[in-house]
């Protein structure tokens, strides 16, 4: 599903040039659950952003579902992202002015789905996430765990094939964090490919494979069943 080759990303300001990714070869099969780990500043979020079509690489190639998406324009990336990729963030990133229902509904609006279909789907997802009793509440009226469940609901509302999670339990206590990880695992079992950035070994353990990044390069990949080290 995801295949990158010699993926490089360099951030340039007036004075400084930072190499965030350095010729990374990263593959994810359909239905996999992959965790990306590494110290702060190693390039995890950058890799996630490029995989999520939020950013373009400086060089290298990226095939998404067999299509080369390395140098797409913003509008093309948006078009491809819609309905195919869902996002879950550490800080939830819900829109404060929209209630729970409206937050979850948002990606479906951009998919030009009819109002009735949207309603049905959102209701089903909220029910599944056990948050439908809060559908008219606003984010500031929810706990952290509830907000993240809403964020996950929004991420899966459009039935994407891929979910990208950037430290999804980073702002949650252990109980809520476990709940979120169970949800992600459940989704993965249903066929959704998940790529997750995390600092937590506990969370990484839910994944089939752990990829370790350091200074913009993949240094190890560990499969859950068997180990494989790359240098």
């Amino acid at each position: 599903m995801i295949k990158t080759q010699k993926l490089t990303k360099i951030f340039q300001t007036d004075e400084i040039e930072t190499s965030a990714l350095n010729e990374v070869n990263f593959n994810v099969e359909k239905g996999e659950f992959v965790a990306i780990m590494g110290p702060s500043g190693c390039g995890k979020s950058t890799l996630l952003n490029i995989v999520g079509l939020l950013d373009n690489p400086t060089s290298g190639s990226y095939l998404f579902n067999g299509v080369d998406v390395s140098n797409l324009r913003e509008s093309q990336r948006t078009g491809l992202r819609k309905g195919n990729i869902g996002f879950v963030f550490q800080s939830f990133n819900l829109i404060d002015e929209l209630n729970v229902f409206e937050n979850v509904e948002m990606p479906l609006i951009y998919l030009k789905m009819s109002a009735s279909e949207r309603k049905a789907r959102v209701e089903a997802i909220l029910e599944r996430m056990k948050i439908s009793h809060r559908r008219k509440h606003f984010p500031r009226q929810l706990s952290g765990g509830q907000q993240q469940r809403v964020a996950i609901a929004r991420a899966v509302a459009a039935n994407p094939g891929l979910i990208l999670a950037d430290e999804p339990t980073g702002n949650l206590d252990s109980k809520n964090g476990l709940e979120v990880m169970n949800l992600l695992t459940e989704l993965n079992r249903e066929g959704t490919t998940i790529v997750m950035v995390t600092h937590s070994l506990h969370d990484a353990d839910f994944a089939h494979r752990i990829v370790n990044l350091f200074d913009g390069q993949i240094i190890t990949e560990v499969r859950k069943q068997m180990s494989e080290t790359l240098l």
Binding site: K82, F87, N93, I95, E97, Y110
Partner: protein, 773 residues
């Protein structure tokens, strides 16, 4: 925190938020400059004639308050002074501006001169600088001139007094009096005056109670209401219709009620724009305060008192306000020359007295205080952590206030746009209006010596008519479109003692109907070969008065014992003012008063050739006389419509300034909103929103508010324009499409202004947006 540190922080904030600061200061500065200009203009207009001592006791004689151009017979002034003891002074002015060729040691000058009683100088406070004797006009050949003329003729006042000048190359006159230049805000203005008797002789005016030529001014010892009965008795005794009209109300009344309306509209426009600027200021300042709430939160966290918090906000607002006031003075300084040219007066920043400046500063300081006090109060009441977590900026009442102010701002802007469009439409309409005679392809000759012109007119006419490009010629006693005199001396029943209303009189030679192309409704024009001086033409309005249900043709009018037969009835034509309703008018045949030859040219293409021939004829017949050939349509435009044109330009300028201020505010708010919604935009884009969808989302509010503003503004603007148009006898329609254009224009400007910010926000990389959060 000390004031010095507070000011340092304020200065750094202004530098860091350059865009906000510039928008804020410039917007308020432009609004204030409009306020300054309107302030100066209103002061000028409302102070008209008030420089005169006891101005409230000075009056102009009128037949009634509707006819302020009334003229009276020569004996009136002296008689009323003698017979009504409460009349302290009464004096006549011949209201004709006569051009005189003046020769002095310094050269030759063409100068306007008015003939008047010297009593005028007792009534008006025209300050005498120097006099050769103890009276204004010691002899019949004395003249009084203003200070600037004295300097022009002789270099200085001292050199001018008592000196001889040559008038029209043949008469000698002595400068007996020099007076200070009459201020612009005087209803009676002149640079040179000569004794009334000289004018009476020059124009062979008969000193009878039946011939009215003069404006009469009076100064009373007592209030008018006490004198009124005596004046009424006087009028009855002398069989004359006269009232006294207050001088201090003359300026507005003479210019038509539209002048007052113009002033009120200028004041309202000024207030509107000032309001727009203040709304901008409040909106942008409060938005900026909430944006930078961290500073307030930290101050509170570390122990700042409520007083300090209030002081900081108020100080910041005051600094912005004072900078804006400086900008306002600069902008006013730059705009005033153009505005002076537009409205034909002389305003300057120097007229802003200390009191007025302090008053203005007080008003705007009040505004800035109000701007600062609300957020100061909110922050002082809030918990520090709430402030730091930005739980204040999403406060619903703050959002509501901002939207409400924006709605008000857009409503005012739409009102201004609609008004500007209608004012321009009306001016265009007037310009195209048929005044009842054909002003195109007609020229007239204005000479320096109208008596000489009249004497030789018949010869000139013959020569002109030899030219095939000239279709007809006639001469008139006043410039085309301007009525020279009026009278109440006519009656239409022989033995009737009933007073006739005031009738405008126009004395012409025989080809008046053909040359002016007025529409003849009944009868005929004056005979080409031998016109009868006992025949008159009248207009439809007078015909209706004479014979309401029948024909006035062949009826006889009487002036004293003299009968005049009505040989023709003309359609109404507008002379004197396009704002006046039709007045009864009559055209008399009198070739001895052919002061202004009027020449009908066959077509526009022939104009240049025709003018060449006219000039040739003039040079041959009047080799030493200065003259000017004027186009009637240009003259009418200048005489009657230019004020409206100037007003429309004046209003358009204000309208543009108002729109600029509004756009600044919209831009600033759009900037604020897009900054505030960075995170939301990033999330939407991550979840599949395209650029156009984000732009539509950001612009949605402004579209909705503009539509509501249009609904609010339309009836208000309709009413205002309806009232303004009532001042015109000829008026354009209040077309619906003007409102539509204004609404679309406002929407277009609003969208254009905010879309730039929306587009920037929508095309921003969502990763950056979410990272910044």
């Amino acid at each position: 925190m000390g004031i010095k540190i507070s000011l340092l922080i304020i200065w750094r904030k202004l530098r860091q938020n350059k865009v906000f600061s510039i928008l804020n200061v410039l917007g308020l500065g432009i609004g204030l400059s409009v306020a300054v200009i309107v302030f100066l203009y209103a002061s000028y207009e409302l102070s008209f004639d008030r420089f005169n001592e006891n101005a409230d006791h000075i009056y102009l004689g009128v037949e009634n308050s509707q006819n302020l151009n009334s003229v009276f017979p020569l004996p009136l002034a002296e008689t009323i002074r003698n017979e009504v003891p409460e009349v302290e002074f009464a004096a006549n002015v011949l209201p004709w501006e006569i051009k005189k060729e003046i020769t002095t040691a310094n050269g030759e000058f063409l100068q306007s001169c008015f003939y008047m009683d010297e009593g005028i100088f007792n009534i008006f406070s025209f300050r005498i600088i120097q006099q050769s004797q103890n009276t204004i006009f010691p002899t019949e050949n004395s003249v009084a001139i203003c200070e600037s003329l004295a300097k022009k003729f002789f270099g200085s006042v001292d050199l001018a007094i008592g000196r001889d000048i040559t008038v029209d190359k043949k008469n000698m006159a002595i400068i007996s009096t020099i007076f200070k230049d009459i201020p612009n805000n005087s209803s009676l203005r002149f640079e040179m005056a000569a004794p009334l008797q000289t004018g009476v002789k020059e124009f062979k005016i008969v000193a009878s109670w039946n011939d009215a030529y003069f404006h009469t001014f009076a100064k009373l010892k007592s209030p008018l209401n006490q004198v009124k009965p005596k004046i009424s008795a006087f009028a009855k005794q002398h069989d004359i219709q006269i009232e006294f009209f207050p001088l201090t109300e003359l300026h507005f009344a003479q210019s038509g009620s539209s002048q007052k309306t113009t002033l009120y509209i200028a004041i309202f426009a000024g207030i509107f724009i000032m309001l727009l600027a203040c709304i901008n200021f409040i909106n942008l300042s409060t938005a900026n305060i909430f944006k930078n709430s961290r500073e307030a939160g930290l101050n509170k966290l570390f122990g700042s008192s409520s007083f300090n918090l209030h002081r900081q906000f108020i100080l910041e607002a005051l600094v912005l306000t004072f900078i804006a006031f400086g900008v306002a003075l600069m902008v006013s300084f730059l705009l005033l020359p153009y505005i002076n040219q537009l409205i034909g007066i002389s305003l300057s920043i120097g007229q802003l007295t200390l009191f007025k400046s302090l008053l203005l500063l007080g008003i705007i300081s009040g505004i800035s205080f109000f701007t600062a006090i609300i957020p100061a109060h909110i922050f002082s009441k809030a918990q520090p952590l709430h402030i730091l977590n930005k739980q204040i900026s999403t406060n619903q009442s703050a959002v509501f206030l901002r939207k409400g102010l924006l709605l008000l701002q857009l409503s005012l802007t739409i009102i201004i746009i609609i008004s500007t469009l209608f004012i321009n439409k009306q001016v265009h309409f007037i310009d195209q209006t048929n005044f009842g005679f054909d002003k195109k392809n007609m020229v007239f000759i204005e000479s320096e010596n109208i008596q000489t012109m009249a004497a030789k007119y018949s010869v000139l006419e013959k020569e002109l008519l030899k030219n095939p490009l000239i279709t007809s010629v006639c001469a008139t006693d006043a410039r085309p479109g301007v009525i020279g005199s009026s009278t109440t001396g006519f009656r239409w029943q022989e033995n009737s003692t009933e007073k006739s209303p005031s009738v405008y009189m126009y004395r012409v030679s025989n080809e008046f109907v053909n040359t002016f192309r007025v529409k003849l409704l009944e009868g005929k024009g004056f005979d080409k070969v031998q016109s009868n001086t006992k025949e008159v033409l009248i207009n439809k309005t007078l015909a209706h008065l004479i014979a309401e249900n029948g024909s006035a043709l062949n009826k006889v009018l009487y002036q004293g014992e003299r009968p005049f037969t009505i040989i023709g009835v003309l359609d109404d034509f507008s002379f004197n003012s396009i704002k006046e309703k039709q007045q009864p008018s009559m055209i008399l045949f009198d070739s001895s008063r052919g002061f202004y030859p009027c020449i009908r040219i066959s077509n526009e293409a022939s104009t240049s050739l025709a003018l060449t021939q006219i000039n040739k004829n003039m040079k041959e017949l009047f080799p030493d006389m200065k003259y000017e050939i004027k186009f009637t349509d240009d003259f009418i435009l200048d005489e009657f419509i230019s004020r409206e044109i100037r007003f429309s330009k004046f209003f358009t300028l204000f309208s543009v300034l108002g729109i600029v201020v509004c756009c600044m505010g919209l831009f600033g708010l759009a900037l604020f909103e897009s900054n505030k919604r960075i995170k939301e935009i990033g999330i939407r884009k991550v979840n599949g929103a395209q650029v156009m969808e984000v732009i539509a989302l950001l612009n949605k509010d402004i579209i909705g508010i503009t539509i509501v503003a249009f609904v609010i503004a339309t009836p208000i603007a309709w009413y205002a324009m309806h009232k303004w148009l009532e001042n015109f006898a000829y008026k354009t329609e209040l077309s619906w499409w003007i409102f539509a254009i204004a609404g679309l224009f406002a929407l277009g400007i609003a969208l254009l202004t905010v879309s730039w910010q929306s587009w920037k926000a929508a095309t921003r990389n969502p990763v950056e947006a979410l990272r910044d959060e």
